[in-house]
Symmetry: C2
Subunit: 675 residues, 2 copies
């Protein structure tokens, strides 16, 4: 456009884009023609409030502009109307309703940007860029005209093209069934949900501002769901539930066996998991005060067997060699295809599995952690019944699973139990007297503190959970009660009678078993079970490291509930994970679930993970002779020699009294947890 | 490839493509590398027999080749095995199993071509080129390998790419649910159905040769279905049934009223029509001895209200101005979305509607007739409760509907009835005595022939159907009993008492009403009803002609049951249709249904009709003042002046004794018909 005397200069920050426009141009229009990233659902009608900007006051020599409030039109009727329903912060204006009168610098705050960043809380985590597959568009549609007959859908598409530059859209037939009443009830004004910029999936009469998505992590033990506002990226509700498939089998292989041995068993399990997910949908929508109909998209992660059962695919091929997945590609389908009780045109995105034992949950971890973006070699560890391991950096990514078995989850251990109130989760053993003290889930006190007995009276001390087993075995080793080869040193029975004969081997009595309960003891078999599990995990990591040609890793991230709850220094004492600087080993939280949430909020992340998964080199531990060698080598517990100085120091410190530890304990004490 | 001394020349006819290949090359492989159109389902394994060729014997100076049987390998074990199950015609060879040994000319017969022509019976009709959306591909899939883990789907896709050059395929999740068992039951050999070259929609263990499609014409009165073999294009079964929606309203507008007045009425009607279509599916599959699961695609045509109700879209907007369609685009959806009981991944293609009164049935007629391919101006007329009219040539296409009302279907006429046994369908009136003779559906004899009374004793003479009404009014006019303005000439009562007073007007007694039935008479109101209907039809055609700027049409094609059954010369006597040379007016049969069949057999025809429909200029008669003028002008019955010489000659001829007429009558007499 030609610059005239009546043109005014506008500079948008932070982008720095600038241009001259005729006096009277709405700021939103100026921004759009400059390609400035400003959000809008209502298309500039002063309804949604997404396009708020702030006038930068004062002189801006860099831009050659003096910003003055008088250089913008005063607040008009539309803006005042909006403010009455949703007050705006001081200095904020609706860019759609504010006209350019003179030269100005206008700031677009982060929450007004389309591709805003969704901040992740963890320090190590990158932010999520918001770019959901489902977006809302408010349009005014031309009413039908007998002189120019055309279908209502065509006129809707014309409006979407004119107002939102959306072209070549397809439309679900179920939208067509609702289209005509919606247009007429909305007096030709409707809000349309478009998926992937290509498919009309919903239409509502009038203006609608919000649409939701749900990210679901289908674990063998627990299922967790996060309900997100797709406009802001905020998590508006979260819920978790036990996977009801547990009644068909505690671990994955027993569920596969159930399918093999029971006609229709696969459908029973598919129905069960879908019902549980629908329960979570009901739960999170109730929390958020919305209807399940407002959820337009769902994303899923899960291990290969959970993935197959969710989709109604029999997992039997995953139960035996060669562990063939039905598909290792991502899937996009309708919610109705998996009986999900959300909007009936909602779409489902299922992240790709990596290999027969490395599932879409591992893909979610990769997406959350993005080891491919760093030069550092990162090891990602997700421990469940199997440990899924991913190793790599920006050059290569490798993955395998290690058959750790369920010992880390408290199974296969004589006094083991799932993490629940009453379970021992922390243990310290006096290096001299061999006397233990411990903490149980649901109680803030250590067992040697006054009031402990009263505090745990309700639950009792019922067993030992995964993190507790790691600690007790490591502490026994540090106190000398377990030798380098894992055998319990019976001679120490002379020092403390807690070490006692148990058949032909020895055991360590951790708790005397009040209230008529049997004592809790760590037997030689329990130590062996942990040794086998940690050796498998270590061997898997070694195998990946050897394939990659590295002899140490720069960073280790422990994902999942187990990773969140174990104390990494004890994992290192036992040699569960490869050598790594202690402060470079950390929990990644529920990284698989985070990956599902990233895929929900940023559709480009779907292409990213699909490409990454194709790049991953898959290693099958079952057919690698080196795995067996590494496994045997990893059975022993490492000597804490010179390179372990910092670790030695760490485990010698009393944990009691550190603020972070206390905070974590308090949080855990508030309820049942799931590891 | 480099030509060597051991290369042999092969020339394929009719394409004329030629090339040199090493001795020992299979003919099919040579054909493929030359891009010669040879069919195959089994991929060259000697199972399907689709790739048969014929050796052209002798000298071919044009090609510089001497063809000799010795220049091809003798029949081997695979070919002999195939011949035992399906004997081949003499001289035929399986090109996949026949090796090139010397120079040859090889003919690819039409039935071995992928894009063979499907011959349409009618003389005026072009053949259909076969290119179905669903094609079968037999593949051998690599079994899974632990050393190179990949999903079964990926290896299936690899095989489809390697053997059939299909890339970028998507896959229904319901196929994934069946994929692993199918691969294992078929020992890694499966047949895959691919839709549109892009989507895997079915997989079966082992080799499967045939797949079917169904083309459905959903009429307000009747629904007709044709089951086609998608490999050959043959119609293997056909069936028709009454549209059960009739119980909610005889004509279209009464069905729309039913929806308006009854909550859930739309669902009742949608369920009814879907159930009827499923009944037809059961019928045609029973006839063909196949399972409904073998039907992988269905195509649909229907007027806008039938179209909407089939899809579960309320037709209420079509019941009043401005007659807005929900969509005027074609639709591709899953069979399950309209509850169609065929293969559960089968796809549905619904032809596009043209305008609120001009439906997908008219689009089907356009596709069957292709007026856009000719320089001649063609008028297509599809008469139902409304007449849908399309006029045009290769330059322009125009369409409108005319509100003829149901008079042509026998409604609104005192003794009218639907076409069924017992209904008068042919009438002749003696120009002098005014005595009539007639024929009824279900009887070969004229009413003045011996034995007529006995022959119709079973049904009686129950009324007069659409074609009978046209004829009796036209014959009354030709005999002078009706004046140019449509009034019945009461003075002729003196000549024959069949003309008698009927209140303040007159009537003509056609039949005395034996067996206690009331006499059948044509009243002044009946003549007026026909005049109104024919004036509407004529006015619609005039309007299109005026818009197009033509004052006559070169060709008229009458589509639908009505068009098949009326005698065009009587339609011309009444002035129903514009002036046109009598031998250029003909029936197009069930052209709408043929259009559905073309869309089923040739996927490219879908893009053709979608583009044509967009090009059609839609005229809404209700808002065209000229339509009213034309309507009033068309009320009178034309004088058969000089230009009508040939028509005068035609109607003066006795129809009795013409072979074509007799054949048609015999055919119709065999059963109930639907007009």
């Amino acid at each position: 456009m030609a610059v005239t005397a009546t043109d005014a200069l506008v500079v948008f920050t932070p982008s720095g884009r600038r241009g001259r426009f005729p006096v009277g141009t709405p700021l939103l229009q100026a921004a759009r023609s400059l390609g400035v990233d400003i959000d809008s659902v209502c298309g500039g009608r002063g309804l949604c409030g997404r396009c708020q900007v702030v006038l930068a006051e004062g002189e801006f020599p860099k831009h050659g502009v003096t910003s003055r409030a008088a250089h913008l039109s005063p607040s008009g009727a539309v803006e005042q109307q909006f403010c009455r329903s949703q007050p705006m912060a001081t200095g904020r204006r609706l860019s759609c309703s504010t006209l350019l009168l003179g030269d100005v610098v206008v700031d677009v705050p982060p929450d007004s940007q389309v591709h805003r960043q969704v901040v992740r809380k963890a320090a190590e985590a990158r932010d999520i860029e918001l770019d959901p597959a489902v977006r809302l568009h408010y349009v005014e549609v031309q009413p039908p005209d007998m002189h120019d007959p055309s279908g209502d859908l065509r006129r809707l598409e014309d409006a979407l093209e004119f107002e939102w530059r959306l072209t070549g859209l397809a439309c679900d037939v179920r939208v067509l069934q609702q289209l005509q009443p919606a247009l007429r009830r909305g007096a030709w004004k409707v809000t349309v949900a478009v998926h992937g910029g290509s498919q009309i999936i919903a239409v509502w009469p009038g203006f609608r501002e919000r649409v939701y998505g749900i990210a679901v992590d289908v674990g063998s033990t627990t299922i967790a769901a996060h309900l997100c506002d797709l406009g802001s990226g905020d998590v508006v509700a979260a819920a978790g539930t036990m996977n009801p498939q547990i009644r068909f089998g505690e671990d994955l292989m027993s569920r596969v066996s159930y399918v093999m041995m029971h006609a229709g068993g696969e459908k029973e399990m598919t129905d069960a998991v879908r019902a549980a997910i629908n329960g979570l949908v009901a739960d999170v929508t109730r929390q958020a005060g919305i209807s399940p109909d407002e959820i337009l998209e769902a994303t899923f992660v899960g291990n290969p067997i959970m993935h197959h059962l969710l989709l109604g695919i029999s997992p039997v091929e995953l139960g035996g060699a060669p562990f063939a997945l039905s598909t290792d590609a991502s899937l996009t389908l309708w919610a109705t295809e998996i009986d999900l009780a959300i909007h009936r045109n909602a779409r489902i995105y299922v992240l790709p599995c990596i290999a027969g034992h490395v599932g879409a949950d591992a893909a979610g971890v990769v997406l959350a952690e993005r080891p491919d973006l760093s030069e550092e070699v990162t090891l990602l560890v997700d421990v469940g019944t199997n440990a899924e391991l991913v190793l790599g950096n920006h050059r290569r990514l490798l993955a395998c699973s290690s058959p750790t078995g369920p010992a880390f989850e408290g199974a296969q251990v004589s006094c083991g139990q799932r993490a629940a109130p009453g379970a021992i989760e922390r243990v310290r053993i006096d290096r001299q007297t061999l006397e233990p003290r411990f903490k149980v889930i649901g109680c803030d006190l250590w067992s040697d503190e006054p009031g402990f007995a009263e505090a745990v009276a309700a639950t009792g001390v019922t067993g030992i959970c995964g993190s507790g087993i790691i600690e007790v075995v490591a502490e026994m080793y540090l106190a000398g009660a377990i030798r380098h080869d894992g055998s319990i040193d019976g001679e120490l029975g002379a020092r403390n009678a807690r070490i006692h004969a148990d058949g032909r081997t020895f055991a360590y009595r951790l708790h005397n078993g009040a209230d008529g309960r049997a004592p809790l003891a760590i037997t030689q078999n329990d130590v062996r079970a942990i040794q086998l599990a940690k050796a498998a995990l270590h061997a898997g990591a070694r195998l990946l490291m050897e394939r990659m040609g590295v002899d140490r890793v720069d960073r280790i991230r422990l994902a999942g509930a187990f990773g969140s709850h174990i104390d990494v220094k004890y994992a290192m004492v036992l040699g569960m994970i490869p050598d790594c600087a202690l402060d470079h080993v950390s929990s990644a939280g529920n990284a698989a679930g985070t990956g599902a949430r990233i895929a929900l909020l940023d559709q480009r992340a779907r292409r990213t993970i699909e490409q990454l998964v194709r790049r991953v080199e898959k290693i099958e531990t079952a057919v690698e002779p080196r795995f067996q060698e590494f496994f045997v080598e990893a059975m022993a517990i490492p000597h804490l020699t010179a390179p372990y100085a910092r670790l030695r120091e760490a485990v010698a410190l009393p944990e009691r009294g550190t603020a972070a530890g206390d905070a974590r304990r308090r949080k855990r004490a508030t309820g049942r947890r799931s590891a």
